[in-house]
Structures are given as C-alpha cells and as structure tokens.
C-alpha cells in the first residue's frame, strides 16, 4: 500500500470525477460537494457502469447507465438497491489529491 500523488484538486471538475487507470480496474476519483474527495472502483455493482461518468450530488453519484445511486464514502448502493463497490482511501494535501493503492 502506498500513497500516490494524483493531480491538483482543480483538475477534477467540481461535482465531477476523473478516472485513474489501474491494473485491477479503473478507479473513479470524485470531487463532491464541499470539495470533499472520494475514490471508488469505476464499476457500478449493478451492471458495471462507469460511475465516474455519473451526475454527482451531495456525497452520492448516480450511475449513468441505469440510475443506481451510490454512497461515495462507503461504496454502498442507496436503498432499495443492494450492492457495494470497493472504495479507496483518498486525501487532499496542500491542494493536491492523493490516492492510496
């Protein structure tokens, strides 16, 4: 496990996401409301939709394929849907986003 430097916070659109390509599958790094950052696997538990492309609201994202809502902090699908995506530790330091892989 190691912290990786990603990019300055402003290079992720507010209420948006960028993708980190990774051997185990892409990771979506979100800049949610209040500039809080989250990272989860970029595959919806429903049918693998790219969560990074969804609309971000509060600390949730809506999958672009079939509209599941995912809690970014936990990776859990919002009720009544059931499922979970892996989440990754992520932090901001001096305006730069870091991800632990």
């Amino acid at each position: 496990m190691a912290w990786q430097k990603l990019c300055p916070l402003e290079e992720i659109p507010a209420l948006g996401a960028r993708v980190v390509e990774h051997a185990d599958g892409d990771i979506a790094v979100f800049r949610a409301a209040g500039d809080s950052v989250f990272a989860v696997a970029d595959a919806c538990p429903h049918k693998g939709g790219p969560l990074s492309q969804g609309i971000v609201h509060g600390h949730k994202v809506t999958c672009p394929l079939h509209g599941w809502n995912i809690e970014l902090a936990s990776g859990h699908a919002c009720a009544p849907d059931e499922g979970c995506v892996r989440n990754y530790p992520v932090r901001i330091e001096a305006g730069t986003v870091w991800l632990e892989l």
Partner: protein
C-alpha cells in the same frame, strides 16, 4: 442546536405516514415520541378485511414493526392512551401517568365506531369493527358460535359479513337505508351487489331499525330485536353503522372541533398552530376523510410543514371506493349520483351481472359506479381526478380503457392495457423484465403505495415508461382505494423540492434566476445540490429561459451531453457526425472511413436519422477523432442530446419524378437553422417532397410534406415508445414560412414544455388548439417566438471543436500514474 420535541398521539396509518415523510425531509429536526392505544406497531388497517376473510395474516399487514421505531430513534409508547393535553405547559399525559413535553403536537387519533345507543349495547359478544382486537374477537367468535348480525351495510359492514360467512357463520346484515352502501352506490348498482352477496349466503334486512339487543341465558348477546318486532338470532353483533372522528381529547384541550378537529390547509388546528391533526380525526374544509389515499396526501403536506418548508397546501381530495370482497367487484368514484346538469351513460346487463354508470358534466367525467366488471375503475378514477376533457372519446368511454385507447391508437406495448386480466407471469416491464407477480409481491410485502415506490423497488416502468399505465393499474387493483394516480408533472420535480416543473419554470422567469444554486436557494431546495433528476431539468430551464445570460452547468447534464457522445453499455461512446439533411460527400465518407480505421472503431452503422454512427470509441479518443472529423469539415450531430437530432429528407424534386418540392434543400436549411438547439427532449424533423412521404414526416416532432402549392406542416408525432401520428398544424406557401412556423412551434415547445416531455406529450397536455392559436393565428406572436428562437441559436458553436481545447480536453483523459509527460512531473510515490 437542541432538537425540537414532536409528540404524536395515535399510531395509525396517517400519523406514521407523516413521520415517514418528515424523517425523509428532516431526519434530525425532531425528537419524536408516539403514543398508541393499541399494543402494536403501525399496520395497514384497510387489510383487516382480508385478514378476517382468512386471505391474509396479521404479520402480512404490518407496515412499521417495533424495530422501525427503534431504528429511527422514535420513542413509542404502545398500549398507552393519552388522556390530557396541557396547552399552556405544552405537555401531554397518558393514562399511566407518563408525561411528555412537546414543541409540536400531532393529533392522529383516527375515528371511533358509532355504537347505536340501544339497550344491550354493552353485552358480551357485541363489538365494533375497527382494529386488530375486534378482528381477533370476530375470528374467535366464529370458532364457537353460529349466528351473527352485522348492523350497517356500508363498506366495512359488508366486508365484516363476508369474512364471517367465510369463517362459517350465518350472517344477517341489518341496514337502516333503502339500499346497501348508499353512500357509495346508486340503487341499481346496490341491488346487483346485494344479489351477488345473497348468492354467497348473506341475508339482508333493509329499512330495518335496531331496537334492542337481547341477552341469552349465558349472559352473552343472543338476539337482535328490530323495531317491527322481528327477532334475529345473534351470538355475535358487529356494529358497523359508521365512524365518528375521535375528537374527545382535542375537545378537552379546547381545540375547535366540528365533526372532526378543524384544520387549515397546512393541517394545523385553527385554534393552536403548534398542534396539527391528520387523518380521520381531522376536518378539512368541512370534510373528514375516511379513506386512506386522502390521508396520505394530508400526511405529506403536514410533514412538509413540520420540516419547515411550509410551501405545500392540502386542497382536498376526490375519493374512490373499492369493496374488498373476493369474487364481487364493486367500484365507485367521484360524484356518481348525477343531477340536472349532468349526463349519464349507463350499461346494465342484469343477467350478466354487469352494471356501469358514468356521470358526465361539461364534457368531463364527474363520477363512475361499477358492479361486476371493475377492471377500468382505476382509469375512470384517473379521468375524474385529472378533470380531463373526454368529449373526443365520449362514445367509446363506456367500453373501457382498452377499447378507447385502441380507438385512439394509445395501447401499451404488446397492446396490453388491462393489467387485472393478466396472469402473474405476464411481463409488464419489457425493459427490465419485470412480471406482474413480482410487482404484486413487492407491493404487498413492502407496503408500497405509490408509482415511485414501485419503480424504486421493482424497476418496473423506470426505464422507457411505456408500461406506467399498467403498473398504475396493478397498484390500484392491489392496494385498492389506497392508491391515487397523479399526473407526473403535477407532482414535485423530485424528492429535493415540493415545487412542480411548472412552478420552477415560472419562478426562473419571474425572478430572473440565472444559476442552479440561486434557483435552489430561491425555491428552498431541501438538498445542497439537488440530484440526478432535478439538476438536468433546472439546467435546461435556465438556459432556455435566459439564453446567453444563464450559466450552462455541464456537471448538471447527463454524461452524453457532457461528453458530447452517447455512452454505451460497456462505457465506450458513439460518435455521429452531422450530415445536413442526410446528405454527405465522398470527402466526408473518406474522412469517416479513415477515422474509423485509425481509432479502431469496432462497429460502423447507418442510423435511422440518415447518418453514420461510429460505435465503441474510447472516451480518451473522443477529442482525437473529433479533431479528424472537424478537419474534414464535419461537426457534432448532437445524436446524444435533448436537442435537435436530425432533419430527415427524401430526395425530393431534385431527382424524384414525383417530387413537388426541393425536400433536401429545405431539410438542409431547417437543420442549419436549428443547429445547437437544446430542448426539453430530443427533437426530430423530416421533409418529404410529396404526399408519398418517404421521409416519414408523419412521426416527427415537426414533419413537412411538400405539395404542389406549398407545404403541409405536421407536429407532435413520435415514432418511439408509443407511436403517435403527427397532427396537421397548418399549410404554408414557401420555405421561409416553413422555417418561421416550424421554428415558432419549436420555440413554444422549448418555452412551455417540461423537461423530458416530448412534443407529443406536451401537445397532449396543452392541446393542439393552444399551439395553433399562439403560432398559426397570432402572426405577431409567431414572429416574436421565431425571433427568440433565432436569438437563442445565434452563432451556436460546434461542441466538438470547443471540447477538444484546453482545459476541457482534460476531462476526457485519465489521470495517468505512470505517464512521465504529465506536466506535474513523475507521479510521486510515498510509502505508508
């Protein structure tokens, strides 16, 4: 901040629904305490009859078990009755001495059965029919006794009598009125219902007044004596002669009561605004409702007010009744008695056991009564509630939804339109593969009451929406009177607000709101930045109302409009360059072929809109492929947006021996004029050069058909989910007029339609005459609309060219951990 204290007296469906809504909106606002006289959680009182009839069990009808109260931090005092409200000290006291203080008090005390003041009313074996205890007492009595008398032939009385018969008792129903269910049925319907109940073994004494209940030797009730001297054997007497709002507690606290606790449109008592009342105990504008659907409406408004939004108003409800007696179908809704100013349409097949009466007033359905065949009840009720003009379908109306809609070309997919007749295995939602049985099961087990809940839990009707009508019918037939259909656009935009689409549009225009945060602030949005439903709608309303002034927020657009390409199921995108009017050139085709090879596009397809789709492009390749296509003179086809899609053309007079007009030329002109037009939903046009209509103008949002003397304009067609034939709009003489009339129509649609409403649904809502009046008949208004359209579309840029420049292009590229060329240098790694 310290939480406020909310105390609720009464633990029934209306009250708990209010708490559920409140917790949804403001979970942390109140410390909640609930007093309930019954020792249970909240259960579905409407389903007591199926429990009595042995068709369901008590666990089946629990809506909120004790865990629910605990999980939501609600203190429940079950089995304790509140006996005093002290308004000065703001406390309530229960019969066991428990005292609790409140900041807000919610009275949901429900109703009490009316007990006839006759001698013997207190004998053992004489009960009312109101709660679980009564139901259990009846089940118990049926095991040991033979004769039962039910007093009152209303909904509740008949359901009780039916249940007791099924449990083996001999039952006589005593009724004061001239016919049964006289508040819900006319005499003809009641007579037919009575005959079918008699066939099940039920006996009736009508116009009969109970004089006395006589004791048997055992001390238990033994007989009922009527005023005319008749004596009926009765080991069990069920009083079902009506209910009265339970107001004694409110009256003792000197709250104004008059056939219920009198409340305002925000469900606050008129006496004390800290105290609310919902449900059967409340009297709103002179009516105390006894059916569950209006109570749920009240619950929503009350919860809003408690949550501090204060914008919802309860304005009363139209109600419908459905008798829950298996094998006997009765339905009534609205004003079914009629009167001098009403017309009646009646179908009466005595031998076949079918009676239907529809009452019409001013070309609107005012009410309906049905016996024997009630499959269309939900549809009639919807027509009553919506106040829809039925003049056009009047002659088909009696024969039901299926027939009427087949006449109007409006059947669901597979032509199904009668959910009640379908088997459990029938697939209702073709998009998500949901069967009827799955929907019914979810409704029963999860206690669902609304279309939105069914959508969330089962996914039925959550994709294309063509099965919405069927799902609503299933809801209506499963939950009965508890279901109220609502017009999609009459409801709030989403869970983030109480405002409807219409109210939001109006506020944006009136208050000149220019950003999404400003709009949310002005309209008191309950979430910090909305959700995936409201944000795209707000964004469209802003940019269409205030072009060049409002801020277009890409993060509030669906990914397709953000990435200017169509997302596919594997996360790749499709790229469709514009081909004006469906025309292309060898150079363009060569450039497309080169791009397809260069970016290894796996699928190249000709679309229905006369252009070429490159499917399977990686997101990071999008700016590159656009750059190549731009270099060959091509621009975005907007094949991904709620926007102008294509203008389909036939070859027209340019080549065709039948052509009367230059269809290709006009198509290109229209497409160039409308380039970059965002709209409530996608917009497709077509131009045909003659009435053979090879461009399929008859199923387009705006369809143009050339004739020798000019052009015919058709609007509001749709070739999608439900095929809608476009309606004739007007005839014009020149290309310029086609552009002006067609453009003005589209601008009207852009200004008035709600987000995600296609032109066919918009026209269905406002009426074709409305659009004709504002576009065809009013020349000044037409010109103004057309000018506003041209203004909004002035210098519309190619989004592809815009997106592939810095810094926007960054959004298409992954953050590369290994890429040394990153301008921040090597990705640094720190061991943890």
């Amino acid at each position: 901040m310290q939480k406020q204290k909310l105390v609720m007296v009464g633990n029934g469906m209306a009250g708990v629904k209010t708490l559920e809504e409140l917790i949804k909106h403001a979970p942390d606002l109140f410390d909640i305490t609930v007093f309930g006289a019954e020792p249970h959680g909240n259960y579905n009182r409407i389903l007591l009859s199926p429990v009595l009839a042995g068709e369901m069990t008590l666990p089946d009808i629990m809506l909120n078990d004790l865990d629910w109260y605990r999980d939501n931090g609600i203190t429940l005092h079950a089995g304790r009755k509140v006996v005093e409200i002290n308004r000065a000290r703001r406390t309530v006291r229960a019969d066991d001495g428990t005292e609790v203080a409140y900041d807000r008090l919610l009275l949901a005390t429900g109703s009490v059965p009316f007990i006839l003041p006759v001698p013997g009313k207190d004998l053992p074996g004489v009960i009312a029919y109101r709660d679980i205890a009564d139901t259990e007492a009846m089940i118990e009595a049926a095991q040991h006794h033979r004769h039962a008398v039910v007093i009152g032939a209303g909904l509740l009385g008949l359901e009780a009598a039916n249940g007791l018969i099924l449990r083996g008792m001999e039952v006589t129903v005593v009724h004061l009125g001239g016919w049964i269910m006289e508040r819900q049925l006319d005499k003809a319907a009641a007579d037919m219902l009575q005959a079918s109940l008699e066939a099940k073994g039920m006996k009736f004494c009508l116009q009969a007044q109970t004089a006395e209940l006589l004791a048997a030797d055992s001390g238990r009730v033994g007989a009922v004596r009527l005023k005319d001297g008749t004596e009926l054997a009765a080991d069990l007497v069920v009083m079902a002669a009506g209910i009265r709002p339970s107001t004694s507690l409110a009256e003792s606290a000197r709250l104004h009561c008059e056939r219920g606790i009198v409340v305002t449109d925000t469900l606050q008592t008129v006496t004390d605004p800290r105290i609310y009342a919902v449900g059967e105990c409340a009297n709103h504008r002179g009516t105390a409702y006894g059916l569950v659907a209006p109570l749920f409406d009240q619950a929503k408004v009350c919860a809003n007010h408690l949550a501090g939004f204060g914008i919802g108003r309860y304005l009363g409800s139209v109600t419908s009744t459905k008798l829950k007696v298996t094998g006997v179908d009765v339905f009534s809704a609205g004003d079914f008695q009629g009167g001098a100013d009403c017309d009646e349409i009646v179908l009466h097949d005595r031998a076949g056991g079918v009676y239907k009466k529809l009452v019409l007033k001013d070309d609107k359905l005012a009410g309906a009564v049905m016996v024997g065949d009630t499959a269309d009840g939900a549809w009639y009720f919807q027509l009553v509630r919506e106040g829809k003009d039925v003049a056009e379908m009047r002659d088909h109306l009696m024969f039901g939804q299926s027939f009427t809609q087949s006449q109007l070309g409006d059947a669901g997919h597979q032509g199904q339109s009668q959910a009640a007749l379908l088997p459990d295995t029938a697939e209702i939602c073709g998009c998500n593969g949901v069967c009827k049985g799955t929907i019914v099961k979810a409704i029963r087990e999860k206690g669902l009451f609304t279309l939105d809940e069914v959508k969330k839990h089962t996914k039925a009707s959550s994709s294309c929406g063509s099965c919405t009508g069927l799902v609503e019918q299933i809801l209506a037939s499963t939950v009965g009177g508890a279901y109220q259909s609502t017009d999609k656009f009459a409801k709030p935009v989403c869970g983030c607000t109480e405002h409807t689409h219409g109210e939001v549009r109006e506020a944006i225009r009136q208050q000149k709101l220019l950003t999404i945060p400003d709009t949310m602030r002005a309209l008191e949005w309950s979430t910090p930045n909305g959700c995936a439903t409201c944000r795209p709608a707000l964004n469209y309303y802003l940019i269409s109302t205030w072009p060049f002034e409002a801020e277009d927020d890409p993060q509030s657009r669906f990914i397709n409009e953000r990435a200017h390409a169509n997302i596919q199921k594997d996360g790749t995108y499709s790229v469709v360059p514009r081909m004006w009017g469906g025309l292309t050139t060898p150079d363009e085709l060569r450039a497309i072929a080169d791009a397809a090879e260069k970016y290894k596009v796996p699928t190249v397809k000709v679309t229905g809109g006369q252009r070429i789709d490159l499917l399977g492009v990686k997101k990071s390749d999008l700016p590159l492929i656009w750059s190549d296509l731009n270099a060959a003179g091509m621009v975005s086809g907007h094949a991904y947006g709620k926007s102008l899609r294509t203008v389909k053309t036939c070859v027209g007079k340019e080549h065709c021996r039948f052509g009367t007009q230059l269809a290709m030329d006009l198509g290109v002109k229209l497409e160039k004029m409308l380039f970059g037009m965002w709209s409530p939903h996608k917009v497709k046009l077509a131009v045909s050069g003659c009435p053979r209509n090879c461009a399929e103008s008859g199923i387009k949002d705006v369809g143009v058909i050339g004739v020798d003397s000019g052009y015919e304009l058709y609007v509001a067609g749709n070739g999608g989910i439900k095929t809608e034939v476009a309606q004739f709009f007007c005839k014009v003489g020149s290309d310029e007029e086609v552009m002006e009339y067609g453009g003005a129509f589209l601008q009207l649609y852009r200004e008035e339609a709600y987000y995600l409403e296609r032109t066919c649904h918009y026209i269905e809502r406002v009426g074709l005459e409305h659009a004709k009046k504002l576009v065809v008949e009013d020349a000044a208004n037409r010109k103004a609309l057309y000018e506003r359209l041209l203004f909004a579309l002035k210098d519309a840029p190619d989004p592809w060219a815009e997106q592939r420049t810095a810094p926007l292009v960054r959004n298409y590229q992954p953050i590369d951990l290994t890429n040394n060329g990153d301008r921040h240098g090597l990705a640094e790694t720190v061991s943890s």
